[in-house]
Symmetry: C2
Subunit: 208 residues, 2 copies
DNA sequence: CGTATGCTCAAACGATCGTTTGAACCGGCC
DNA sequence: GGCCGGTTCAAACGATCGTTTGAGCATACG
């Protein structure tokens, strides 16, 4: 069953909000346009009118969030990249903090689950979309990791980054869960999460 | 398009084999019973006749592999649990090695991708099936981790195990990929994979 | 006022889904 | 031979999917 939460805003924004929620809960295939438009309080045909197709809607859900998220990541990286006093923690914080801040509000947290789903599902067209549009972000971070870990071979570095990515994706996919005790403790929990993630990633990247 | 690989064996076994392949490639919802039965070279109605429903087929795909896999994990754990000379590496090897050996043959490797998908998709009924049938395995490993890492609080330990699980799942989901250069180098690559995973996991679990 | 434009609406389209049906087939046993 | 439980088969069922259609409505502009 889908609760019709007719949140305010334009038709496009209502669709994007409902899509984020339902994609996180049921996956891209699992959420139908009828559930989606009912939850958004708009007509069924509105999706194809405003976005062209369901696939284009999926891409737009990603674009709306990832443009801002990755811009903030790159800005944070640019402030520290190449500097002699920069540490591994600094780089990891530049990557993780924007994601954690995005997930401070509920819809942002839902999006992190959508993102984790996208990584898990090996859908080729979606992976290609993410790679062509946001591949340069990971490339810049990888270059900085390589600078800070010169003792690692390229292959070794890629292995470790891949494993860290898996751990982060897995952890962040749990953000949009239903249960939580209170908003205040949730925010504290998120700060604690950042600490765990960063210390874990540092250990995984820089172990001898 | 689905290539009709009519591999030998009973109807049930042919269905299970084709299901493993198609579930890994397209997910549980994405693979239809018509694609599946065509690939297996059996009639469409055979799935419901032999398994009752598509959901029951999914469970059977897991049960066939996980019964053997987790039995070997627990046997390996039993040989070292509680011993004073046991190291963190030993416990992690007891967990990872059986999975790597399972993925030595192609169908086993495909199953690891199916398993990774199951973790990614937050399908409640499937997660509950896995939890009730195989939850005791992770519980026994957790107990041994707790013994070897007494300095960690329960919460800290759960966090680290969760992150390690995410990294391993992410890494193993890439096993069933198509490209590989030769069988010999692939086996060597898998041994290298085990080394990377275990050293990474040790660092992530035991870092100060 | 008339009309053009952007948007919403109910309804329908064809395709595909999981499942069910009832007849056909097949081995072994009385 | 005759029957029977287990299995396979083509065909159909109702449901749901993404998408399209064409009429209807609103606002802005001449």
């Amino acid at each position: 069953m889908v609760s019709p939460v007719n949140s305010s805003g334009s038709t496009k924004e209502r669709i994007l909000g409902a899509a984020e929620l339902l994609f996180a809960q049921r996956g891209f295939d699992g959420a139908s346009l009828r559930q989606l438009t009912t939850a958004a309080g708009v007509n069924l045909a509105a999706v194809n009118y405003h976005f062209g197709s369901k696939d284009k809607l999926v891409e737009e859900v990603f674009r709306r969030r990832l443009d801002a998220l990755n811009a903030r990541r790159l800005a944070a990286l640019a402030r520290i990249a190449g500097a002699p006093e920069t540490t591994l923690e600094n780089v990891l914080e530049a990557f993780i903090r924007p994601a954690l801040e995005l997930s401070h509000d509920e819809s942002g947290a839902l999006f992190m689950r959508v993102l984790a789903r996208a990584f898990a599902e090996h859908d080729d067209s979606l992976r290609q979309f993410l790679s062509t549009n946001y591949g340069h972000v990971m490339r810049q971070f990888t270059a900085e990791f390589a600078r800070l870990l010169p003792q690692l071979s390229k292959e070794e570095l890629y292995w470790r980054i891949d494993l860290v990515t898996g751990a982060l994706t897995h952890a962040m996919s749990g953000f949009g869960m239903i249960q939580r005790k209170s908003d205040v403790s949730e925010r504290a929990h998120r700060e604690q999460t950042a600490q765990h993630l960063i210390r874990f990633a540092v250990a995984g990247l820089s172990h001898p």
